[in-house]
Amino acid sequence: MLDARDRQLLAHIQLGLPLCARPYQAIGDAIAMPETEVIERLTRLKQQGLIKRLGVIVKHRPLGYNANAMIVWDIPDALIHALGTQLSRYEFVTLCYQRPRLEAWPYNLYCMIHGKDRATVLAQLAQLDSACQLADFKREILFSRQCFKQRGALYPRASKQRAYG
């Protein structure tokens, strides 16, 4: 579980580790937390799996990964866990989620494939189709066209509120 200090720490560090000799100290200074406690808390959160990974978050497009497909399927509820787990084992699958079906969007399984070109991505998808027997389920392929905004998930501080209207 996250306590208030964990949240405060994550709110600061998620903007990025500064490029200086003692980055955890710099983060700690901003929230009055000793460097050793910053490191201890991050180590624990990582061990607990609340931090899935800590490190370099690359942008794929400048690196030549220009073909990004989101594939969605309508999978029977009884099969989704097994199929989702199976899909996520493939190295080229970069995300795999279940989301609710809506009337206007009757799909429940999502996976993302990042590749250098479309032909590669489609070949990888064909591989998934045959290995996981997905061909019979209704699906759609949505290649991304342009990126308007990319930023890692930034979680707001719990106390932050904004008014809209």
Partner: protein, 152 residues
């Protein structure tokens, strides 16, 4: 062109960035270069937009509330609507995709009520319906992404 040092920094430190007092020094020792060289190479990767940041990937739904949003926007209004959406600090990963539902983005807010307020606000200001598709279950364990940098 990426230097060999930059390639190693991009590929080898996505998952287990050192949790030590001097992480860049530890990386430098592993790679046989100076701490200064590591800091300079990261600064260059930042400046050239190869990396979004060095930081944690937090398991979804641990802090605040989030959802994936889809909108169907006429092509000639897409840029304007996308700009309007991108301006919200709660929005990330705002993409055009090739589909009738052509605008896709992730919304993250402090809590469910705030998330709903932003969704309502976007509908009201754009005049288009939003489909909100919150996470039910995540199968993928994000361990970073192995890069084929040979032709980067």
């Amino acid at each position: 062109m990426l230097s060999p040092l930059q390639q190693r920094l991009l590929n080898d430190f996505q998952r287990d960035f050192p949790l030590s007092a001097r992480p860049y020094q530890d990386i430098a020792e592993q790679l046989g270069v100076t701490e200064q060289a590591v800091l300079a190479a990261f600064a260059e990767l930042n400046a050239q937009h190869y990396i979004s940041r060095i930081g944690p990937v937090i398991r979804p739904n641990q802090i605040g509330a989030s959802t994936l949003v889809a909108m169907a926007v006429p092509a000639d209004e897409l840029q304007a609507v996308a700009d309007l959406v991108s301006a919200y600090p709660e929005v990330n990963h705002n993409y055009e995709r090739e589909h009738h539902f052509n605008l896709w983005f992730v919304l993250i807010a402090a809590d469910a009520a705030h998330l709903q307020a932003v969704l309502d606000d976007i509908e009201q200001h754009t005049g288009y319906v939003v489909l909100s598709l919150p996470l039910v279950q995540e199968f993928f364990i994000d361990l970073g992404f192995p890069l084929d940098l040979a032709h980067a």
